[in-house]
Symmetry: C2
């Protein structure tokens, strides 16, 4: 696979790194847990803290998945006291890959079925 990542790491004053290349991005999204995180973030208008994700993995695993998403440019995180608020970089993603995120979100029918 190889896909060498993490080119710039310009976390300086919150500047988010660029959205990853398509293969790297797809690899980040091709995991059930991470896709669930993406959908949770896309369905919420406010950022979500680590503890508020409804996911059946330990917190260390969750931290790992969030790192993968962050390094692929999918999410950004800002600290808020002892917690860390995660939000989707929807604008950047839509700009770079128009239609991609939308096509990964549950359809209205699926959303109803999941309720």
């Amino acid at each position: 696979m190889t896909i060498t990542a993490a080119l710039d790491h310009s976390d300086v004053d919150g500047a988010a790194p660029p959205v990853a290349e398509i293969t790297h991005l797809l690899q980040a999204l091709a995991d059930p847990v991470r896709l669930e995180l993406l959908r949770a973030l896309a369905g919420s208008d406010h950022p979500i803290s680590c503890g508020n994700f409804q996911v059946q993995v330990t917190k260390s695993t969750l931290s790992h998945h969030l790192r993968v998403l962050r390094e692929a440019g999918v999410i950004e995180q800002r600290c808020d006291g002892t917690r860390k608020l995660t939000s989707l970089r929807r604008r950047d993603l839509d700009e770079r890959y128009p239609g991609l995120i939308q096509s990964l979100l549950p359809t209205p029918a699926e959303a109803v079925a999941a309720s």
Copy 2:
């Protein structure tokens, strides 16, 4: 990961299996070689035989990648004498995941840059 695949295998008289679930599908597309195959197929109006893919892998590896794409419902193949013609299941993919394939194809700018 797990994602148990291959539910029905109804290869009966050429009936293609359903397009895979989203995670399975993304996993099939999250590989540089397979994405290149997808783009080659999407950019051609006629099916492509195994030997006509411009990919730097051995034929056994290529066969493996085509199998992954086939089992994810991305492509279909029909035999033609001694060769096997591969084509993209664009209609089925667009029906199940509208906008997804389009968002993975090179933009006009990228297509020019690759020439």
